[in-house]
């Protein structure tokens, strides 16, 4: 009897437990279906929808800061070097002779670009993080004035025009160029640039300024992209010319060679339209210099060699006598010295076909490269003393400035700003990110396709099982922490997996990155904050009426006429805040003819305003086109009831995320 009772109780408990489990499971499945609108999600974790707050993510937490040098400016007498320390909100002043830092001053907003006036009395500072330009008195390093400019200014140039003093400021985040008067400090015009105006140089006669635009744009995903060299009249900000640099991107540096009538752009020549079946022979990309002449002729010549690459060229300066140019390659830790006499001779005798073909000729550069100067980690910005005798190389991830004697091309020493940050795993990860050594012959680094961790605006055809069937848009790494899985097909559960053996096989064409470095890389990427797409002045401010209307549309659960919108077709279901992704795979009707599947990982939307182009293969040039051109049967959210006004409002809201 007792045994029977025990059996009965045990059986009951077991049944009850089973029932609870089944019931609980069923309940969970019901909950998933109800909230997602999808019938068969499979096993998903609660955190897919119930995401942790943004403030728990690595990029939202305090992190160490370093003395990484960015832009530099040399005093007219060549004795003093000013160095922007973006990460410290400081500008350092160094004595060139003693190679020592003499003063440092706080300049809020992330100093990034520097310029001095002709007397050296005023230092102009482009502060990237707070969209402002500050004027500093070099005698006491006090801030005299400041002005708001466009989003994320990255450089500043001073020039004296017949109409007065001018400052030219490329605004990389708003794709425009501020032209300021100095006294008073006013914005005279905001001229349209290319995509991400990045660096500026003034012509020797002060009559023109040249702006390098970092990113290439294209008419449609399968057309050849081009970045732009914008030529402005500094007196009034009128655009005189927009020179197209075909298939050139990451054009981060510009310099004039007045003696030759040249403007030089450092650039990466990208081959994104060609299936990536190999890396050698510049198949994915190579580096070069674009030479633009006043008559409009542009010739791109390689910086790389047939079997060696000097990736991520950025800073470029030309000697005053026009005989040399120096180009910093951040991925190769090298400064290349170009003999401009030899380059000019080559240009003079090369026919049109040869010049057109030059950038593809990987064996050409030995004819005009006279030296490669090894540097510390990740050289980006360069500066030259006015007499050309000293070259200053910002070794960004070593926290030092290398000083080179240009006569001997040998280092004379370094200005030490910090300790290099080798105790900081984020810093170590950034070194992995910027170094090209992990790819075949050092052809490219992670940064080559993800400048500042972001997108490059291009689509690439990765090597898969077939050829030509894997065209995918580049995705931003900014703000990706917590948004796994990765890759458009969602197959990579972690960043280490994303950048591990498969990546080594299909893209890097070397051994996979060693595990410690892979972990450091993942740490760095997780600490990349989302890209800011609104002006600094609007951060934390309420939405505008249009943005608010757009926000309501994003979170709408019913149409204007009151008809409910199916849960699975509401924007907020798949793009669930705070990450604006449910981290699940879904189909939005965008499968292309060459795609093997139409199901894609839901991308996060933080910073989406700066992530053009859109959709998995980059076919949508703008946010609008997602719904005006590529929407099908309301599969990408129910939009058929929207008016044009509503679509405009939604786009305004999306740009604030």
């Amino acid at each position: 009897m007792k045994l029977e009772r025990i059996i009965l109780v045990a059986s009951s408990l077991a049944l009850a437990g089973a029932g609870a489990t089944v019931g609980g499971f069923s309940g969970l499945r019901y909950h998933e279906r109800l909230r997602s609108g999808l019938p068969n999600l499979g096993m998903v974790s609660c955190v897919h929808c119930h995401q942790r707050g943004l403030d728990t993510l690595p990029w939202a937490k305090p992190r160490p800061h370093h003395d990484a040098p960015d832009g530099m400016a040399v005093s007219p007498d060549g004795k003093t070097l000013f160095i922007a320390l973006n990460d410290r909100d400081e500008v350092a002043e160094a004595d060139v002779a003693s190679l020592s830092v003499t003063r440092r001053v706080k300049v809020p907003g992330g100093p990034f670009g520097l310029a001095l006036d002709a007397t050296g009395r005023r230092l102009f500072v482009a502060c990237r993080n707070q969209d402002r330009v500050a004027v500093i008195d070099t005698r006491d390093l006090k801030e005299l004035a400041a002005i708001s400019v466009g989003i994320r200014p990255t450089d500043v140039a001073y020039c004296l025009t017949p109409a007065g003093e001018r400052l030219i400021v490329p605004n990389s985040g708003s794709n425009d160029i501020s032209v300021l008067s100095v006294s008073p400090l006013l914005e005279l015009t905001r001229s349209a640039g290319g995509r991400e105006p990045y660096a500026v140089a003034v012509s020797a006669d002060g009559g023109r300024v040249y702006i390098a635009n970092r990113m290439a744009i294209h008419d449609q995903v399968l057309s050849q992209p081009a970045s732009e060299l914008t030529v402005l009249d500094p007196s009034n900000g009128h655009v005189l010319n927009r020179v197209e640099l075909h298939s050139a991107h990451l054009a981060e540096g510009v310099a004039e060679v007045p003696a030759r009538g040249w403007v030089l752009n450092s650039m990466v020549r990208v081959r994104n339209l060609v299936p990536i079946t190999q890396v050698k022979d510049g198949w994915v990309m190579s580096t070069g210099v674009a030479i633009s002449k006043r008559d409009g002729e542009v010739t791109q010549v390689p910086l790389d060699e047939a079997n060696a690459y000097f990736s991520d060229p950025s800073g470029i300066v030309a000697s005053p006598d026009g005989k040399r140019a120096y180009v910093a390659s951040g991925g190769a830790d090298v400064v290349t010295v170009l003999d401009l006499d030899r380059l000019g001779a080559w240009l003079a005798h090369a026919g049109e076909a040869e010049r057109s073909d030059a950038i593809e000729n990987m064996a050409l550069s030995y004819q005009y490269v006279s030296a490669r100067i090894p540097t510390g980690c990740n050289p980006q910005h360069l500066a030259l003393s006015p007499d050309g005798s000293r070259l200053f190389v910002a070794e960004r991830l070593d926290d030092r400035v290398l000083v080179v004697d240009t006569a001997s091309l040998k280092p004379v020493g370094r200005i030490v700003l910090g300790d290099g940050g080798l105790a900081d795993p984020i810093r170590l990860g950034e070194r992995v990110f910027t170094r090209a050594r992990y790819t075949f012959q050092g052809q490219f680094s992670c940064r080559s396709c993800h400048p500042d961790g972001h997108v490059d605006g291009l689509s690439y055809d990765f090597d898969g099982a077939g050829v030509g069937d894997n065209l995918l848009a580049n995705r931003s790494l900014c703000g990706v922490a917590g948004t796994e899985p990765f890759k458009w097909n969602g197959k990579n559960p972690t960043l280490q997996y994303q950048d591990g053996p498969r990546f080594a096989r299909v893209l890097m064409r070397t051994d996979e990155i060693p595990q410690p470095q892979l972990d450091e890389l993942a740490t760095f990427i997780k600490h990349l904050p989302p890209t800011r797409t609104i002006p600094w002045s609007r951060v934390g401010q309420p939405l505008t009426p249009a943005e608010e209307r757009g926000r309501k549309l994003f979170f709408a659960t019913q149409r204007t006429d009151g008809t409910p919108i199916p849960v699975g077709r509401q924007c907020q279901t798949c793009h669930r805040p705070p990450l604006f992704t449910d981290r699940l795979l879904t189909s939005v009707g965008t499968q292309g003819a060459q795609d093997t599947s139409g199901v894609f990982d839901t991308p996060h939307l933080i910073g989406v305003g700066a992530m053009a182009p859109y959709l998995h293969d980059g076919r949508a040039k703008t946010l609008e086109e997602i719904w005006t051109v590529y929407q099908k049967d309301d599969l990408h959210g129910v939009s058929s009831y929207w008016s044009k006004q509503q679509l405009n409002d939604l786009v305004e809201y999306l740009k604030t995320i």
Partner: protein
């Protein structure tokens, strides 16, 4: 004894008129007595230079003309954007150069940047540094691809489209739309936008003239008081018609063109004047566009050009044989018609641009350059059609 000949009043008037048609002079003040120059209050076209396809203009049909601050003359034609370069030659830009569509309906210059904004049948374009950037209804917030007109006002580009007014703020790169759902428009069909000092006037097809205050965001519509497109029951009391084809503003005066006449609104006095064909000096009720320079309006119609300050008029017409005429209406006086040695290239005038020295006329058969003063040697000698 023979009677001495005397000058009749008519002869005197004729003399005055002839003398007043002599080229106004800076240096040659002797050519017209001061009192005769001052007698006619409107600039007078003394001769026309005409240009057509044989001169390199890509189409005989020209929808719009604009002279930019650098002295170039831009044409919106049926076959591309065209510019008259300093050497007098015409250069065409078409879709192959990046223009969104070959039918160009309007242009505007951004005084801040020098960029040219170009309205076409398939989108809005920014032409800057030799490059076109296209804005369409699919790739941007532009309300509709058909852009009738474009105006740049304080860093905002106003596009007049059949689906409303689209405003693109250059610095913030944001779009705003006004149509019948959020503005005092009868219909979304917008034909023109004209800035005043503090407000903006919008010409709305079937909606009259709407005044917009950017500071308050409020609209105020001026409608035809008799709501009749054919009859003028209540003259001088509001827009001549709600079917507005164009609107212009300068010196405190709003001009409204319609297919049923012309209206003038004095913003200070808050008074309206209206004109129709036949009963008034207006050369034709079918007004395509109106261009305001100072207190003078240049009125482009299907039968020639009227030029007026609201009181005085000059009408320029051309007959089927190509003979040009200038008919003047001085205040209170009988109209006088004279033949001209040159004429408009065509009487169907689509648009006009004018300043103190010259006027340019976009017609359905070529471009006419109206010269006010003694002509300086022209780089290209044009011929009349």
């Amino acid at each position: 004894m023979k009677p001495q000949p005397t000058l009749s009043v008519r002869a005197i008037a004729r003399t005055i008129l002839v003398l007043s048609l002599l080229p106004a002079a800076g240096a040659s003040a002797q050519t017209a007595p001061h009192e005769e120059k001052a007698a006619f209050p409107l600039p007078l076209v003394t001769r026309f230079e005409n240009f057509g396809e044989k001169d390199g203009i890509p189409s005989h049909k020209i929808h719009f003309v604009l002279k930019t601050r650098d002295g170039k003359v831009w044409l919106g034609t049926n076959n591309g954007l065209c510019v008259r370069q300093p050497d007098g030659k015409f250069r065409r830009f078409g879709p192959e150069d990046g223009l969104s569509h070959q039918v160009v309906l309007g242009m505007a210059e951004d005084p801040a940047t020098g960029d040219l904004w170009v309205a076409t049948m398939q989108g809005l374009n920014r032409f800057s540094g030799g490059k076109f950037t296209n804005f369409t209804q699919t790739n941007s917030g532009l309300p509709n691809n058909v852009v009738f007109a474009v105006t740049v006002i304080d860093g905002a580009v106003w596009a007049a489209t059949p689906a409303g007014a689209g405003i693109y703020r250059i610095k913030t790169k944001t779009w705003t739309m006004y149509d019948q759902t959020n503005a005092d428009f009868e219909e979304p069909w917008i034909y023109a936008v004209a800035p005043a000092e503090k407000v903006i006037y919008i010409g709305v097809w079937a909606g009259g003239v709407v005044e917009f205050d950017p500071k308050t965001g409020l609209f105020k519509a001026f409608r035809d008081p008799d709501s009749d497109t054919q009859l003028q029951v209540a003259c001088n009391s509001g827009p001549i018609s709600d079917i507005t084809s164009w609107v212009a503003y300068d010196a405190g005066i709003v001009w409204q063109s319609t297919y049923f006449g012309l209206a003038r609104y004095d913003t200070k006095e808050a008074t309206w004047q209206t004109w129709v064909q036949d009963k008034t000096p207006l050369v034709s009720k079918f007004v395509n566009t109106v261009y305001a320079h100072g207190r003078v309006a240049w009125v482009a119609t299907d039968r020639g050009v009227s030029e007026t300050d609201g009181t005085n008029w000059v009408n320029y017409t051309v007959d089927e044989k190509g003979q040009g005429f200038a008919k003047t209406y001085l205040n209170g006086k009988a109209p006088e018609t004279r033949t001209m040695t040159t004429a408009l290239s065509n009487g169907f005038v689509m648009a006009i641009w004018a300043d103190d020295h010259e006027a340019w006329f976009a017609t359905s058969n070529g471009l006419s350059h109206g010269i006010f003063a003694e002509p300086t040697p022209s780089p290209t000698v044009a011929s009349n059609p």
